[in-house]
Amino acid sequence: MALAPVPVGSRFDPPVIDPRDRGGPAQPLLIARELRKHFPVKGARGKSVQAVDGVSFTVRKGETLGIVGESGCGKSTLARLLLHLVVPDAGELVFDGEAVGTSGGIAVNALRRQVQIVFQDSYSSLNPRMPVRDSVAFGPFIQGRKKAEARDLARDILAKVGLNADLFGPRYPHELSGGQKQRVNIARALATGPRMVILDEPVSALDKSVEAQVLNLLRALKRQLNLTYVFISHDLNVVRYISDRVLVMYLGRIVELGPVDMIFDRPLHPYTRALLASRPSMDPAHRIEEPPISGDPPNPIDPPSGCRFRTRCPFAEPVCEHTAPPLAEWLGMNSHIAACHMQDPGSGHSRAGRT
């Protein structure tokens, strides 16, 4: 697997070929098509929380796809759908060219050997009654290794995340700081040797100084272990720093998708613009005078008809109420698309085709 030396840390590293690779470098590692998940509301017949509603995207091998959105947008549900921890109501997943969960494709169990998830650090992300090294060794143990072998693997991976296995291995989660616990979470996800890691708000619960350490660690691990990341966060600055491409979600749907610099420098969708403008400025001389939009994100149980953002959108028109704007056609990795009538010349919106 040795390749010619390339500048360390460059994101233009040619992808290293994993022995488990099936589809080749051009095949996206993950394709999601029209994923849908509605949770029925107890007691209110017919009503459901439309957590994820027709989401499609791809993840290229070796990239970091960032997913941003506020509460209720469905990003956490989406994270679980990608691993079939929650079974989708509709839609399909294709991992390295093989359909997930169908005969002839890849079984969910096999998928879970190649895709893992890191949760937001909370007291509930590690078993409080297990020493940390056992929590990390659990995955390999389940996947067939003997206990001694699994323990050794756990030692190695703990070292990789910067924790001295002798010092930290026997400890219990309550004896670790937030940053240390999160490293253990990362170690646990990596112990089974996945190719893709889904990170669900991995740094949101950490102090800023520790957040920086963990982000550096994630970047280094990605290079060393040739990983692909799906990075979910509500923090735009973090997403900008770590992602190659970004997907913006609102109330269960994708509103914008594209390369990170294009999303941040030239956002197309009014929601993305509002989100970017809501970031506190670090300069006291240039404070935000007016909030970019008003109101709260609406309830995912009864989303507005047509375009779900129309209730808060300064450009909403009658067409937005009747028709849900489709996400423009995705043409490739550098495609920058948005689901907005203003982007679609034939939509009937007064500002269509002019932005």
Partner: protein, 301 residues
């Protein structure tokens, strides 16, 4: 070797990496907390005393509990060698109390133990499976919950004809629903936590997850609740014997002793009250120890 060494202790500040408290492990810290709790320790000592006396009854009891004597009937405390007097058949009270402890403890602990296993199993299955299985199990338990425990115990023991075995069976049935409920609640709570999802994400099956992740976290509250049930069980068992539905004479049992000594209460009141005192002290000691355990195990770390 990683090119990150962020948690390597800076050379001269190794205490950064050392654990803050030297106590590790959950049970170790529980034990530590208990050590500083004088009330719980005191009552735990009493429980220990009662248990030891019951186990070593033949060595500890001064007289044969079944040896009756016509002349030595209903003698007060301290009469000749009888430290606590004699009962209505002339048998030594102290010896009968000690031997009675055996029965009480047996009928206190065994039903709770069996109920914990059976109820616990049902609770874990229900809590983990959720949905209809859970509903089926919990509603079945609710049927038994509809009866007050004393009534249910009396009804079952009575229907089966009394005796120590049937008494224990009745108590076991009474305790299965609450054990099931406590276990189900604890299991449902644990089930929703992230580390269970993480375990599922590695491909672990249900039994494996229950074995490694659920049981260890559920046993704590279950154990505490079970220990509080022992005190209730002792009371109920004594009640059953009092009503004649438990142990049969001449076996020494505190409830039975209360019943037979009832008529003699105006003759030697203190002696007749002794079995009641024994029930009270044993039951409350178990109760307070269970409370202390709960407090020691409850602290969020």
């Amino acid at each position: 070797m990683s090119d990150i060494a962020l948690d390597k202790p800076l050379e001269t500040f190794d205490e950064q990496a050392a654990p803050a408290t030297l106590v590790r492990g959950y049970w170790q810290s529980v034990f530590n907390r208990l050590r500083h709790d004088p009330v719980t320790l005191f009552f735990a000592a009493i429980v220990l005393l009662i248990v030891l006396a019951a186990i070593f009854a033949p060595l500890v009891a001064p007289f044969d509990p079944y040896k009756d004597s016509v002349i030595a009937r209903l003698k007060p405390i301290g009469w000749r060698d009888h430290l606590l007097g004699t009962d209505e058949l002339g048998r030594d009270m102290l010896s009968r109390l000690i031997y009675g402890g055996r029965v009480s403890l047996l009928m206190g602990v065994v039903p709770v133990l069996i109920a914990s296993i059976v109820g616990g199993l049902l609770g874990v299955v229900g809590g983990f499976a959720g949905g209809r299985v859970n509903t089926a199990i919990m509603r079945a338990m609710d049927v038994f919950y509809a009866f007050p425990s004393v009534l249910l115990a009396v009804a079952v023991a009575g229907a089966m004809g009394g005796g120590i075995g049937n008494g224990m069976l009745a108590l076991t049935l009474v305790f299965i629903p609450p054990m099931c409920r406590v276990t189900e609640t604890a299991t449902t709570q644990v089930r929703a936590l992230d580390y269970i999802e993480a375990a599922r994400a590695t491909g672990a099956g249900t039994i494996t997850i229950i074995r490694y992740h659920v049981l260890g976290n559920v046993l704590g509250p279950v154990f505490v609740y079970a220990s509080s049930l022992v005190s209730v069980s002792i009371l109920l068992a004594s009640g059953l014997s009092f009503l004649g539905l438990g142990v049969r004479p001449p076996t020494a049992d505190w409830g039975l002793m209360l019943s037979t000594l009832r008529q003699s209460i105006y003759v030697v009141p203190f002696v007749c009250a002794l079995p009641g005192a024994a029930i009270f002290v044993t039951s409350i000691s178990f109760n307070l120890v269970s409370d202390g355990l709960r407090a020691a195990m409850d602290v969020r770390m």
